[in-house]
């Protein structure tokens, strides 16, 4: 009887344990699901905060002193911080090729700097539970990850692409509901970028306007000075010739006065010619008459034109030319003008007893290099670029005043470039300056003997 009771009690206890175990497991399972659901909601809430954070970041960037090119990187950092993805890129459509997307900014590694994508969709995502659109192959290929989320703004030609390597707890699968997130992120980027681009353009325009004002003021100051001196000379010597000083000039004085008036007139003419050349340069370029010109003749004529002035300044002027009778393809008059400007400029800044060497070299590929080197005052490194700007006088840079509108080097540079060449300046203060003109491959030839 007692044994039967004990067995019944044991069976009851076993049933009770099984009951508690079953209920415990069931409650545990519910707790587990509840916990996971709570975590999922919290993670979703965190993702939805991304939009708010992006908007806040947009306001911060608008107010901050950030250059347009830095915007993409900063927005991507915000996306990474909140959306937490493995990689993200901003892309831009190449205007001439609507199927060619260039990578502008990246977070994480990408396979290539560009992506070919025809018929780009506004929105796209890939996941294990969603069949992939054909365009996704380019995107997964670019990021080298299987899961991507894409938004494209056709009007601005810009796109945002996010990528994940796995679909896990932290990187849950992309879905249609992510459209708002990715489109807001792209929209914020475009809005801030456009605003910053407009601000930068405004700043640039202001800078250009200020520079133009400065140049105009400089131009007027230079011109008024350059015109006034010879005009005053013309008027002054003319008055002397007209006997307005009360004394009748002698024949010798009259000759000197006429010479001075003529010299001033020529300076005025040269000045006007320079200004006209510079002002209508763009219309001159198509009018270049390029012919095969003997190099020796070109060099010697250019030097000859300034030999007298060099002698007067007691500056030696030497020409080093190749032994062969090379011809070069240039507009004779314009190229002579280049050389005259360079030699004239060297003369201005070379002290008596100094030397100027004009040297020409023909390269193996029939390119041409002509240099004008002096041992004059030289140019400080920080002024090397400025001397190629119009109306900047070398004299001002080196604390010495010389005549001229400061157009010699800018005109020479533009004419060289019109010939397809380049002009570069090397200089050491106190040691002198070398200006080198390089003309492209095939500019030189050796004429056939009978020619």
């Amino acid at each position: 009887m007692q044994m039967q009771l004990a067995d019944e009690e044991r069976a009851r206890l076993e049933r009770e344990v099984a009951y508690y175990r079953r209920e415990y497991d069931e409650i545990g399972a519910r707790l587990l699901r509840l916990q996971e659901e709570q975590s999922r909601v919290a993670r979703e809430a965190r993702r939805s905060k991304t939009v708010a954070k992006l908007v806040r970041e947009a306001y911060r960037l608008i107010g901050a002193d950030v250059e347009p090119h830095a915007i993409g990187r900063l927005i991507l950092a915000t996306i990474a911080d909140t959306a937490v993805c493995d990689c993200a890129v901003f892309l831009r459509v190449e205007p001439a090729r609507p199927d060619h997307f260039m990578v502008e900014h990246t977070l994480g590694a990408v396979k290539s700097s560009s992506m070919l994508l025809s018929a780009p969709p506004d929105f796209l995502f890939t996941s294990t539970s969603h069949s992939a659109a054909p365009q996704s192959a380019s995107m997964t290929g670019l990021l080298e990850v299987p899961y991507v989320l894409w938004a494209y703004d056709q009007s601005h030609g810009r796109a945002l692409l996010l990528g994940n390597r796995v679909e896990s707890n932290i990187h849950r699968a992309f879905e249609a509901g992510d459209r708002e997130l990715v489109e807001v992120a792209l929209g914020v980027y475009i809005d801030v970028l456009m605003r910053k681009v407009a601000e930068a353009a405004l700043r640039q325009a202001k800078l250009v306007a200020e520079q133009a004002n400065t140049v105009r003021a400089q131009f007027l100051a230079t011109l008024s000075h350059e015109f006034r001196s010879p005009l005053e000379a013309v008027i002054g010597f003319s008055e002397l010739l007209m006997n307005q000083g009360g004394q009748t000039p002698s024949a010798e004085q009259r000759a000197e006065y006429v010479h001075q008036i003529l010299d001033s007139g020529r300076r005025l003419l040269a000045l006007v010619k320079d200004i006209l050349d510079f002002s209508r340069f763009e219309t001159l370029v198509p009018l270049l008459q390029v012919n095969w010109v003997p190099l020796v003749q070109l060099l010697q004529n250019a030097v000859r034109g300034l030999a007298a002035e060099a002698a007067a300044r007691r500056v030696s002027l030497e020409v080093i030319q190749p032994p062969e009778r090379w011809q070069i393809a240039v507009d004779y008059e314009r190229f002579r003008q280049i050389l005259s400007n360079l030699i004239g400029n060297a003369l201005k800044f070379t002290a008596p007893a100094g030397a100027i060497v004009v040297a020409a070299r023909i390269m193996d590929d029939a390119a041409v290099e002509i240099s004008v080197a002096d041992n004059g005052v030289g140019i400080a490194p920080q002024d090397l670029d400025r001397v190629l700007e119009p109306f900047i006088q070398l004299a001002n840079l080196n604390g010495r005043r010389v005549s001229g509108a400061g157009l010699g080097l800018p005109i020479a540079k533009q004419l060289v470039e019109a010939h397809g060449g380049t002009l570069r300046i090397a200089s050491i203060v106190g040691n002198g300056t070398t200006v080198t003109v390089s003309l492209p491959t095939g500019t030189a030839r050796l004429p056939a003997p009978e020619s």
Partner: protein, 402 residues
């Protein structure tokens, strides 16, 4: 008292700029050793070059981290840089490394343990750091349990205070790497052996509770649990989660549930400190199996399915940190190190607040503090030798011996 420890934190997409920011925080004096935790989005070679350029002629240790935690900020974007700079022989740990994990974790651990034994006395504090990821495809971790079994065997009877963490490049366990011998290395492990005058006190912060009755592992191969109570392990987990059976694969179970092994009396009241948890690395629907982070369970091991509990996690942080503060004297504290399982970050756990922030708020350190997000944590468990743990935070305060 001489010697000093300083910490620095920066988050910058440009590693050179991040290194410079940290250098400015650490000061002009050159440290003897820099322990670095580098966000995984930084290129390792560039990180090495940046740190080498910023700290010339300074020994460099550490490696990748899924994120960094400091009083100045915390994050896991992959662009963080956290540094601990040691100045002076009195506080600077000796660095002993091995790069042989791939040839066998247990043998590498044993060899490192032997070397550490030769350089220590009982009670010394040792920080172990290792590259967590053995292979990325398929994903396989360097099992910390084997590594620690070897290390303990190598130590023989030496009783040390060993803490440590597995290094990752990101929370998704994509990769890991380390600085060893002025180079970037995979499959490496480093022991930082502190001088005799430095001791460490550690608190393990938990956050899981059992949600099932005891189950027995009836079939297991390494870290792959095939059966629980004679049923496919994945089926058991999926049924508990209310998922459609056979639909789970990949990493999506990671951290949803863990398997916990209760130490001591199985019927003693619940105590978080009695559980060793193992995270699920991935599931295999074809085999009905789940693969754990560690292969240290066997047939017959009694386990319970555990649920992450964010409220419990935050309570555990407050409880553990307060208790640790009680055991330490702030004036003697050199620095604190927090090795935080990446799964505890709010982006992963879904916790309403960052538990690492709560650690900082509760500890309110008046001494340097640095933490990093890890793949696995190592700490002295239940007053016994150190063992690897999952889903824990290991907070250690390093002090000068009184």
């Amino acid at each position: 008292m001489t010697g000093a420890v300083r910490t620095a934190y920066a988050s910058n997409q440009n590693i050179m700029a991040a290194a410079s920011e940290c250098r400015a925080q650490i000061g002009r004096a050159n440290p003897d050793l820099v322990l670095a935790f580098v966000g995984g989005r930084h290129d390792p070679a560039s990180a090495l070059a940046a740190l080498r350029g910023t700290f010339p002629d300074v020994t460099l240790a550490g490696g990748s981290a899924a994120g960094a935690i400091a009083t100045a900020g915390l994050g896991y974007t992959g662009f963080e840089l956290g540094l601990i700079a040691f100045h002076g022989a009195e506080v600077t740990p000796q660095v002993i490394s091995t790069g042989a994990l791939l040839e066998g974790e247990e043998a590498a651990g044993r060899s490192l343990g032997r070397e550490v034994r030769d350089h220590t006395d009982d009670g010394a504090a040792v920080l172990l750091l290792f590259d967590s990821v053995a292979s990325t495809s398929p994903l396989r971790l360097h099992p910390a349990s084997q590594l620690m079994a070897g290390f303990q065997a190598g130590l023989n009877d030496r009783a040390l205070h060993v803490i440590g963490g597995g290094l990752l490049t990101d929370i998704n366990i994509s990769d890991g790497w380390m600085f060893v011998d002025d180079d970037v290395r995979k499959h490496a492990m480093t022991a930082l052996v502190f001088p005799a005058g430095i001791t460490a006190s550690t608190a393990i912060l938990h956050g899981c509770r059992p949600v099932s009755s005891f189950m027995q592992i009836t079939r297991i191969e390494g870290a792959e649990v095939l059966e629980l109570n004679g049923e496919p392990a994945l089926t058991v987990i999926e049924r508990m989660l209310g998922l459609e059976l056979g639909t789970t694969s990949g990493q999506e179970l990671s951290l949803v549930a863990t398997l916990g092994q209760k130490q001591g009396d199985p019927f003693a009241p619940y105590d978080e400190n009695n559980y060793v948890n193992r995270l699920i690395l991935h599931a295999n629907p074809a085999r009905g199996s789940i693969t754990l982070f560690e292969p240290d369970f066997a047939v017959g091991t009694r386990v319970q399915i555990m649920s992450r509990d964010n409220v419990l996690m935050l309570e555990s942080v407050e409880r553990g940190v307060v208790e640790l503060s009680r055991r330490t004297v702030a004036d003697n504290c050199l620095f604190a190190l927090y090795i935080d399982c990446a799964g505890r970050a709010s982006v992963m756990s879904g916790a309403p607040t960052e538990e690492a922030e709560l650690v900082l708020q509760t500890l309110a350190p008046i001494f340097p503090f640095m933490g990093f997000y890890s793949g696995v944590e190592i700490a002295p468990f239940a007053g016994d030798y150190s063992r690897p743990l999952d889903w824990t935070g290991v907070l250690s305060v390093f002090q000068r011996a009184p």
